[in-house]
Amino acid sequence: MIGKKERFLPYLYIAPAVVLMIFLTLLPNIYSLYIAFTNYSLYHFQHYDFVGLRNFVKVFSGSELQEFMSVFAWTMVWALASVFGMVLIGLLLAFPLNNRYLKGKDFYRTMFVIPWAIPAFITVLMWQGILNSDLGAVNVLLMGLYKIPIFHGLFGMLDGMTVFFYNIFHGMHIDFIANLLNGFHNFLAGFNGKIPWLDNGNWARVSVLIVNIWLGFPFMMSIIIGALQAIPSELYEAASVDGATPTTQFFAITVPLLRSAMLPVIISSFAFNFNQFGSIYLLTAGGPTVMGRTAGQTDILVTYSYKLAFNMFRFGLACAYAVFIFIIIASLSSVNFKLTGAFDD
């Protein structure tokens, strides 16, 4: 016979967690979902009304559609390139670090994990300084190098080659490549060692990617080392009995087993970077800005939604974006759960 007290007790135990979840996660989310269906904004600050799907319609129509499309495209590129870069660098470092004959392995591993270990907002702000066009360490170094005749000459040669190939492709009317080369020539011709890391739209995109990959590769590296070590050495021995060469062993065992171990991590890392607010907001704040547009050139959906809410005070529209982001991330996660069988017992 269970007494009243005993029946009540388990609820008491989970109460703190449930209360926190309700107030910190559930209610704010429901509230923002509600806001997405209102015209809550600077002009309707005290008396806002329910407007149905108007915010969602707005996202997909008129000038806002243009903003949405360009931000969404860059968000996809950003998330894909970030994951790709992290995995690539992670792989390149994990293989040598997993070699049992490598000496000083612990030292290297420690060094490579530093970007992960130091709080990101500190290192991102440091990067902001490092990439400063006039006084940043990178450009000071590059400008110094540029003054050395050899490097100067090297750039001249590179420019010459660019022009040479530009003429060829231009002559063949392959405009896509010719235009690219032309842009490159313009850059080289005006180059004096100074790269507008954060001031030019394209360079700013490169910069945020570099910094984001720098922040994320240690995690990938650790995961890959772990996945490599989880492959039983007996599998390699079994393959070597059957006469498989190291190359065959790599493609027949390492690659497939690594792939199945990495896929869930890659998908969740994509979702994470899709929403990577800090790297962008702290480095460029979404900038450089474009005339007549709310979204800057490095704005991703989440920073854009932040701007809409707290710079433009268009809370309703910002929340509609948040809902949209949620739908994307939720569907990605469900794919991931299915893939990993996280909900299977």
Binding site: E234, A238, V241, D242, G243, A244
Partner: protein, 364 residues
Amino acid sequence: MSHVVLKDVRRFFGDVEAVKSVNLEINKGEFFSLLGPSGCGKTTTLRLIGGFEQPSSGEIFICGEKVNGKPPYKRLVNTVFQNYALFPHMNVYDNVAFGLVQKNVPKETIKQKVSDILELVRLSGFEKRRIQQMSGGQQQRVALARALVNEPEVLLLDEPLGALDQKLRKSMQVELKQLQEKLGITFILVTHDQEEALSMSDRIAVMNEGRIEQVGKPYEIYEHPKTRFVADFIGVSNFLKVSVKDITSDIINLNLGGIHLKARKNGVPCKAGDELEVSIRPERLWLSRKPDNRADNVLKGAIADVRFLGDVFHYDVRLNGNVHILVSRQNLVFQEDESNFAPLAEGDDIFLHCMPESLKLVKT
């Protein structure tokens, strides 16, 4: 000519000598077991034969060919690994075909061979199954098929049944033995399970601390253990500290704390006055409430403990001088045996008897 020969093989890992001067000759078509406790060097010895380790010194011959320095795939051996080492991302067919694919065997031939070998291990129809969908016993058979499909001269098995449950292990033991007899290839099995070794092997090498203690047929190893370790590790033995009184043509007279015992000579050297140990198996002692004067060796004791195991009783008998002996008795009932039928209980005075043949002198 022996099929697999190890000559004075040693293997160091740093300062640790894992295998100490091992000499072995394994015959063609033999089911040979390396038996010993964990860390005795049996797996290292197997890995030396397989080519996963190279000997620090000594020579290894397989089929008359010296294989020192040769990689595993250039030896006429194949291996069944402890945890099967099946490729988890491949199905049964691809696992079994892996070795043949590496050798660029034509596709049709591979198909034929794989299907033949899967039939041999009773897994026909499982070609498309994924490894995770197979039970432990089935995975074991896939591992066997993967090794056998390469037609090795010698098959190495590293604790192949270790991961299976008791019942399955018993049936796989039978299956493995039948398979070996059918194929006629040499099997070298590593195990720490004495029952497994005794029931399956033609010959056994008992290893301890990197050395081979004794090589022989299962019956020999059990009946005539040469060292204390073998007597202790294989089956159960009682050890009694005795001194040698005198030696006649085939009987050694022993003194166990004033009690006279007779043992048959068994080749272990001794002389009058030696202090040594004799071993005796629990099932070679028989009990009665009154001394049986027909027996050569009679010991008086009291039952200190009774353990009932169903088919057998284990009695812990205390002799004079606080020496304990384990005696086992089958749970049998004979008609003429009524006096003994009354169950023995703790505290009962009892007499133990044994034949001189049952007392074995052992090297310590």
